[in-house]
Structure formats: C-alpha cells, structure tokens
C-alpha cells in the first residue's frame, strides 16, 4: 500500500501540479488559496521550474498565457474576486486555444464577500466567465485526494483540447487536511507544434485571437464550437451512488456532495430509496447521465439539488431534466453551509 500523508487540499493541488509537469506558476495572494501559492513558491524552484508572484491577477493570467504560448504546462490559482480579474486573460487563452490550469478555491460573494466556503462561481466557471462564446473544462473535486488526481486530468484535458481547464473547489476543500496518496511522477507531454519557440527550421508561429479579415472570426468560432461539441460528447464525468433503484436523487458537487452523501445514507436508513449523482465535470455537464436515468425510469423519480449557492448548478439540472421530473433545491452561501439536518428536513417535507 502506498504511504498516506496528511495534506491540505491547497497543498495537494500544488504537489500534483509539480508532479504533472507544471513548468510555470504565477499567482497573487488571496484567501483561502494562499497555501497553494506558498507551496508553489517553495516547490517550483526546487524542481527548476518557474514561480512568479505577479503584481495582479490580470498580470498572473497573462504570464500564464506567455508560458502556455511557449508550449509549457502553466498554472495559476486564486479565489473568487481574483478569478473575476482573470477572466480577461481566460477569454484570450480560450480565443488563442492555449491550454492551462486555473484553480479557483471559491469564497463567498458577490463583491469582496467573505472567505467562507462557497460554490457561488458555478455560472462564471461553466458559462465561460469572460467575453465571447467559449467554455473552459471545469472539474470539481470533492476530497483532497480527488483534488490531487484531477490536477493531472485537468492538465491532460487542457492539452488535448487546447482549452483552459479549471479546478473548481471551495474554501473548505482548500483548507481541509485529509490523508493523501501522492501520484508517482509522470510526464507524458504532448508535442505542441504551435508553440512559440523561435522559428528555426519552420515558418513563424503566431498565437492570436484577433481576426481582421471579414468572415475570419466566424470561421474560427465555428471550429471552436465543434471542439466544444466533441468535449461534451466525450468528457462528461460523474459519480453515481445507488442510482439504479433510487426514487429521490440528490445532485451535488464538491464538498457539498459529501454532505449530500450523508443525507442519502440517512434517507436509506429511513427506508427511502435515495441516491446521489455527483457531477465531476461541471462543464461539460453530465447531462447524458440524467438522460439515461429518465429513459430507464418509467416510475417516479425526483431530483433534489443542493449547493453552497442560491441555485446555479440547479439551472443545468433543470435543463437536463427538461420538465420530465420534479427538481427541488436547497442552498446557502456566504455564511453557514447547507447541513445534513436542513437538507433532510426539506426532502422529507
């Protein structure tokens, strides 16, 4: 058995990035993700990689763009208000089809909000977040181990599709310590012939998202949408618990999914047929899983969504269900998190 060590979510993400071959990290201080920036400041130079504390989130994401354009694995991290600032760069990265990993350890909003755990940036992460018709691949870990694992997936998917990937966690996940088995180092990096490495022996490469010629942008946008359709078709991921026989299915992601799991167990003890559907990819949203459930189930099934927000993923669940089943919701954000008792009470009402 591999040795387990205690690590916070923030540190586990940092160590995974180092092991996944992250060459460049730029960040800016903001709670509750500071331990990740500090971890990278310590670890990256040890591995002869680059760490830069940027002057702003705007600069940090642009530095990541430069490193990514150089063909290197690049990463930044922040928390909600900082991620808002990064949207400029994320849109450029998406438009220039550059891979990178962005970690958002979410806190309460809007505005400066507060530093308690929250899931209020779901819309921002899954809809694009910045200007233009684009998406980022969004992964939502629910444990320190999964946060570690999904960093590898995030880099790999991002490279494969040349699209930014986001790890969407909440403050609790970032701060929490759990036993972790670290991945052994592996570095199966794809070649990047588009990278800016100097034009020796080839024609010059250009990394850009600007199209001055008439029709050029529309052509590009169509290609981009095709890519997104491919991602939607191939990369939906979720975890299901007791889905086969359940009549009430809780839908939750990240830390909130763990609380939902306790609710499922409690309902089962009361003789209710309850299950959990936990999206792991938030974009692409695992809509096919809902389709399958609704197709299979002739008898009544209903969904109950719980989030540390006032109902954001809820909209994707409703879109997937499309009126074919009841969808109820309970969420809180900015202070307490939705507890087992509160959720149970609402389900049993």
């Amino acid at each position: 058995m591999s040795k387990k060590i205690l690590m916070t979510g923030n540190e586990a993400i940092g160590e995974a990035a180092v092991r996944a071959g992250c060459d460049f990290y730029a960040g800016y201080p903001i709670t509750p993700q500071n331990e990740l920036t500090a971890y990278m400041a310590k670890r990256m130079p040890e591995e002869n990689r680059v760490f830069v504390q940027a002057e702003s989130e705007l600069a940090a994401i642009s530095m990541v763009m430069g490193a990514s354009a150089s063909g290197r694995r690049a990463m930044t991290s922040s928390s909600s208000p900082g991620i808002s600032l990064k949207q400029e760069g994320i849109s450029y990265l998406a438009g220039a089809q550059l891979p990178c990993l962005i970690v958002n350890i979410m806190r309460g909003g809007p505005g400066l909000g507060n530093i308690v755990p929250a899931q209020s940036d779901y819309f921002q992460a899954t809809r694009g977040g910045g200007h233009g018709d684009y998406h980022c691949i969004v992964l939502a870990p629910c444990s320190v181990q999964e946060a570690h694992n999904l960093v590898f997936s995030g880099f790999a998917l991002s490279d494969k599709y040349r699209a930014p990937a986001i790890i969407l966690g909440d403050g609790m996940l970032g701060q929490m310590m759990e036993p972790l088995v670290v991945h052994s180092k592996k570095k199966n990096l794809s070649t990047k012939p588009w990278a800016l490495t100097g034009c020796k022996g080839r024609r010059p490469n250009i990394v850009k998202s600007f199209y001055m010629q008439e029709g050029g942008l529309e052509e590009f946008n169509k290609a981009l949408q095709k890519k997104y359709a491919r991602i939607k078709e191939k990369e939906q991921r979720f975890e299901g618990i007791h889905l086969d026989d359940s009549e009430i299915i809780l839908v939750a992601y990240g830390t909130q999914a763990r609380i939902a799991r306790v609710v499922v167990e409690a309902l089962r003890k009361k003789g209710k047929k309850a299950g959990l559907l936990r999206p792991v990819t938030l974009w692409p949203f695992p809509a096919d899983a809902f389709e399958e459930l609704l197709k299979k189930k002739r008898k009544k099934v209903r969904f109950f969504v719980t989030e540390m927000s006032y109902g954001q993923m809820l909209e994707d669940v409703r879109l997937a269900v499309n009126g074919r089943a009841a969808v109820d919701f309970y969420g809180r954000a900015g202070g307490g998190i939705p507890t087992e008792e509160e959720i149970l009470r609402r389900i049993l009402q």
Binding site: P32, M177, I259
Partner: protein
C-alpha cells in the same frame, strides 16, 4: 466509531497544532481523518479553532456541526462552542483562563488547569498538549505511544529543545492533577 472534535482558543494557544497532532496520530493508526481549520484573520490574540473527524469508515462529510469532544482554552471560545457539544460529550475545559460557570446541559466537563500547568513547566505554549494528555486518558481512541511518535516526527530540528517539555505536558495531562 466516528469522533468529532473541535479545538478552540486564542490564536497562539496552539489549537491548530493540537488538531493536527490528533489527525496525524489517527492517520498513523490507520483511521480515516479530516482536519479543517478556521482560516483568515484569526491570528495571535484572535479566536482560532479547528475541527477534526476520526472514523473507522470513510468520512462522507468532513463538516462538524456538533462535536463529541470540545477542547476549549479561552472564554470567548467557550461562549461560542458550548452549544456545539453533543449530549454527553466531553469538554476539556481550561480552568486557568475560563471562569467556572454552570454547564448548559449534560456534558462531561473536565475543568483542568492547562495553562497553569504549562506555566509551571516553563513553557506556556504546551497547554494544548496537557489537554491532549487528558483527552487520551478520557477517551480510548488514540494510543499514548502513537502521539509520542507523532511528536518526534513533526518536531523540526530547530525546535527539538521543545520536544521534552511537550512530552512532559502530555504526561501531566494523562496522569492527572
């Protein structure tokens, strides 16, 4: 077995470290464990706390709403967390700094002079380990030896001189007053 613990006190009283030692010891004994700190502006002099869950089964929710054990080192933390202890739950109560009060309900309150004990050992910062010693005695969840091993593992070289006094505090807490 699922044990939910809250450690609370002034920032600087070592409540985060206390939680981490418990978590590390639980891991060493092949338990499932989670540790969550309060984070942000709680620095020295402020109110700090962490929660630890130890379980034989995989821990679904790491969130602690009500606890089985409360370590409490100062008055504001007692006021804040006394309602968070389950009926019959254990309170390791720092009588050196918290005024004796009527307990709100059926709790196993152990009023012990953690800070005074630490003072008498010449190192006020080891009040947390005196409390841990008392916990090991009160609840048969973690082995004394495991905690000693954790001490040796996590003490950085430049703080080796503090190892002995931490062990003494743990022992005092375990043996009793």
């Amino acid at each position: 077995m699922r044990e939910e613990i809250i450690c609370a006190g002034f920032g600087g009283q070592g409540v985060m470290l206390l939680g981490r030692v418990i978590a590390q010891a639980a891991l060493k004994e092949n338990r499932h464990v989670t540790w969550i700190p309060s984070y942000g502006a709680a620095m020295r002099g402020g109110c700090a706390f962490c929660t630890v869950v130890i379980s034989d089964r995989e821990i679904a929710s790491p969130y602690v709403d009500k606890c089985d054990t409360l370590f409490v080192f100062n008055q504001p933390s007692w006021d804040k967390f006394k309602a968070k202890v389950r009926k019959g739950g254990l309170v390791l109560f720092n009588s050196s700094l918290i005024k004796a009060q009527q307990p709100p309900r059926q709790l196993r309150i152990r009023k012990l002079p953690f800070t005074e004990t630490a003072f008498s050992l010449g190192e006020v910062r080891v009040a947390n380990m005196a409390a841990l010693g008392a916990f090991l005695k009160e609840k048969n969840i973690l082995k004394y030896k495991t905690v000693l091993d954790v001490f040796s593992e996590i003490t950085p070289r430049h703080k080796l001189h503090l190892l002995e006094v931490n062990k003494k505090a743990l022992e005092k807490g375990y043996r009793g007053w």
